[in-house]
Amino acid sequence: MLSRVAESLFWMSRYVERAENTARFLEVNFNLLLDLNDITAIDHPNYWSPLIRVTGDPLNFTDRYPEYNAHTVTDYLVFDRQNSNSIISSIGMARENARSIIDSISSEMWEQINNLYHFLQSVSPQQVHNDPFSFYREIKNASHLFQGITDNIFSRTEGWEFIQIGKYLERADNTARLIDVKYHMLMPKVGQEREHDPVHDSFDTIQWMAVLKSCSALEAFRKVYLSKIDPDNILWFLVLDRTFPRSIAFSICAAQEALWRISGSSRHRYANNADRLIGKMEAELIYTTVEDMYRKGLHRFLEEIEQGLNRIGEQVHLLYFAYHTPKIEPNDVSEALPFTGIAGGRANWSQSQQQQQ
């Protein structure tokens, strides 16, 4: 299939997943704060700045907002078009990508993204401040509906695999960041000396439960561990469990299988760098324990996963999207056109210069 189409499928899928996860980040934060039983703490900057640190660019935020609080961070992560990772930007990009390949996806998929886009246009920040939970549920449901539609009617062609890779790379990355949020939130309380050993007190357990809920993982977790809400178990579940579809290990495994189906690689033989890197990461996760994570430092461990996922994304890009132009004869063209398809190209001025005949 055309590299451009594959790339747009990948990013369409990835941006929908990103929007869903940003909604989850915000939701987990509200959940945590409600459990504090201290209404005055809700706007405390320490509870909101970590969200910006793990999802975006703090400088971009502080340039334009006076302080970290529930309103400013929600505005930045949901509505701010200058923040390329905000929900509204993500859905806008998902829609742009879908629109550019509208003939390669089904009309139901397009309609769902388009509906979500228009829903976001119709919501005011005040509505979200008044009732954050309904709003985030709406975003999650819309994302699930999109993925469900895709699952039900998209042919299992190469395009499908790119949709899967986009979704699961993004999900693994976001679950890592979500756990990282929790980690950051503990920082002010735990102090530097306890960096490698998150506190095990009961209040903390309640917060970990909130994290589980935000991954829709509480019930699945209980089936495995009954009611033993122990941070080590939770960490194991969200990072290493191979049956829960939002865990990091599951997502990496799913992305790996999609990559294999494209390249024909298998466990015993890899065909390219993307397959090699993801295979290596998967193998490492199989043999990692929660102890290992603590030993390395949870933050560093998660950061390494995020970096690894980035490298895999780069390799996918190089391999399949930015197809290398062969050596160009000097008398053929003076210079090759740069490939401009990254993450859904912008409007191109000269496209609109043509008149209809």
Partner: protein
């Protein structure tokens, strides 16, 4: 008379009415249709309207309007009453168009090789060689099969006496054929019963015919030539059509950045590497095709494409430089062109045309601006024209200055009373709306026409402009066997 048509005013003294005769009776081929529509209540019509609207919305059939800050997408307005052309009239249109297209192709072939017609002074050389669409780089380049204009969509109108006249030859990248196909689908859903009463000739094979034509011009001898559609992208007003045709033909829809030229061969960039391309059905204008040869700022084209084309490694449909023959000035010479190359009299007449480049005719134009339609020679889509009777004194003065400043660029024609066809202004009211007809001619090994075309209708009351960018809509168009 029958209910819906009771209050319909054909005004047949001023216009040719497609459906009713001067006496107010339905013409023979419309008789059954008028009776059938007469049995519908206004509620029926509005139910049918809903069905059609849902169909178009689900298909995503929209177009974009220029001139505002941002392109606005609209659903292309569709009128429920079909336009019917009896087979004997169609036979004449078909013969006339094929004659015209063959002659225009011979003209292109000539001016891009020995230029005999210029040497014989049938067409003034300065008009051809000075046209902005004449591409001197292509003199001596012979396209596959010697065919330049593989897809054309000539605009045909009817004057007060019902004579079919050619108004324009669109030889570059005419659009609208997807509407022709979708209109038929929409009408079948809304009024299946109408189709029982008539033997309507099918048009659904157009995409297959188009693909066959494109495969015929493949320069390679491979049994399954790789055909792609080249679109300017999603922001182009006709993007829907590009993607529709690609899907219907089962070929890849590409943008410039999907194609790459290496060693004078064209390839698509795919996830499995580079795939050779044999034929490009390009919906990108000449000037944007290759930044190395034409506009350097174009991001829509493919660097090196023109060299690959000149080397004969890839075919383009339509060929480059065809715009020189649909220039509105050259248009006035088409009857002479037909006589010159074919030795035949034109079957379809032109609309009378005055050229501002001729001093005597310029004088006439300037003196009669209030009754004439003045058009810029190289514009399309209803842009850059002055409709005399609807213009203000100020507009006419402004236009007069432009004409004097650049006579080569302007022509004038009498304001034709385009024929009218009953149409719904809205669901409640039937009115006479001006229409034209755009059949699509395909030319590979030989020219063929799918029976029908796009009937465009000016849905603004009294308006003569049928272009979609100016508030026009369309009708399903039936060629029937009686």
């Amino acid at each position: 008379m029958i209910s819906l048509f009771e209050r319909y005013d054909a005004s047949s003294d001023r216009f040719f009415d497609e459906v009713l005769t001067a006496e107010g009776n339905p013409r023979g081929h419309y008789d059954k249709m008028v009776h059938r529509f007469g049995q519908f209540s206004l509620d029926d019509i509005s139910t049918r309207r809903q069905i059609v609207n849902i169909f178009f919305r689900n298909q995503g059939i929209t177009f974009t309007v220029y001139g505002k800050d941002e392109g606005i997408e609209r659903i292309f307005p569709f009128d429920l009453i079909p336009r019917i052309i009896p087979s004997h009239e169609w036979a004449n249109i078909e013969r006339g168009l094929i004659q015209r297209i063959v002659a225009l192709n011979a003209f292109l072939s000539d001016i891009y090789s020995s230029q005999k017609i210029l040497k014989d002074r049938i067409v003034p050389a300065e008009l051809v060689l000075g046209s902005k669409h004449f591409k001197r780089e292509f003199v001596g380049v012979r396209p596959p099969l010697g065919v330049y204009i593989h897809v054309t969509g000539s605009d045909i109108i009817r004057d007060r006496d019902g004579r079919y006249l050619v108004l324009e030859d669109n030889l570059r990248t005419p659009s609208g054929v997807s509407y022709m196909l979708q209109n038929r689908q929409a009408l079948k859903r809304a009024f299946p019963v109408l189709f029982d009463r008539y033997k309507v000739r099918p048009i659904d094979n157009y995409p297959q015919e188009l693909l066959r034509t494109l495969q015929e011009i493949s320069p390679s001898s491979r049994p399954e030539p790789n055909v792609v559609v080249l679109t300017p992208g999603i922001y182009n007003s006709a993007y829907f059509e590009h993607s529709f045709l690609a899907r219907q033909m089962g070929v890849e829809l590409t943008e410039g950045r999907d194609l790459v030229v290496n060693n004078n061969k064209v390839y698509t960039r795919t996830t499995r590497g580079l795939q050779r391309v044999d034929v490009i059905y390009r919906r990108v204008d000449d000037d944007f095709l290759d930044p190395l040869v034409f506009r350097a700022d174009s991001k829509l084209g493919v660097a090196g494409l023109i060299n690959a084309y000149r080397k004969g490694n890839v075919a383009l449909a339509n060929a480059i430089g065809t715009g020189v023959a649909d220039d509105k000035v050259i248009y006035s010479f088409v009857p002479k062109i037909i006589r010159y190359y074919l030795g035949e009299e034109p079957i379809l007449d032109n609309v009378e045309t005055w050229l501002a480049s001729n001093p005597k005719e310029m004088k006439y134009i300037l003196e009669n601006l209030d009754t004439l339609v003045v058009k810029a020679a190289n514009e399309s889509g209803g842009y850059g024209m002055l409709v005399g009777p609807e213009s203000t004194q100020e507009e006419r003065e402004r236009f007069a200055e432009k004409i004097v400043a650049n006579p080569r660029n302007y022509i004038a024609q009498p304001t034709i009373s385009l024929s009218r066809h009953p149409s719904f202004f809205n669901d409640a009211e039937l009115g006479g709306c001006h229409i034209d007809l755009r059949p699509y001619v395909l030319y590979g090994n030989s020219p063929t026409i799918v029976p029908g075309g796009l009937t465009r209708v000016a849905l603004k009351r009294g308006s003569l402009v049928v272009n979609s960018s100016q508030g026009g809509g369309s009708k399903d168009t039936w060629v029937i066997d009686e």
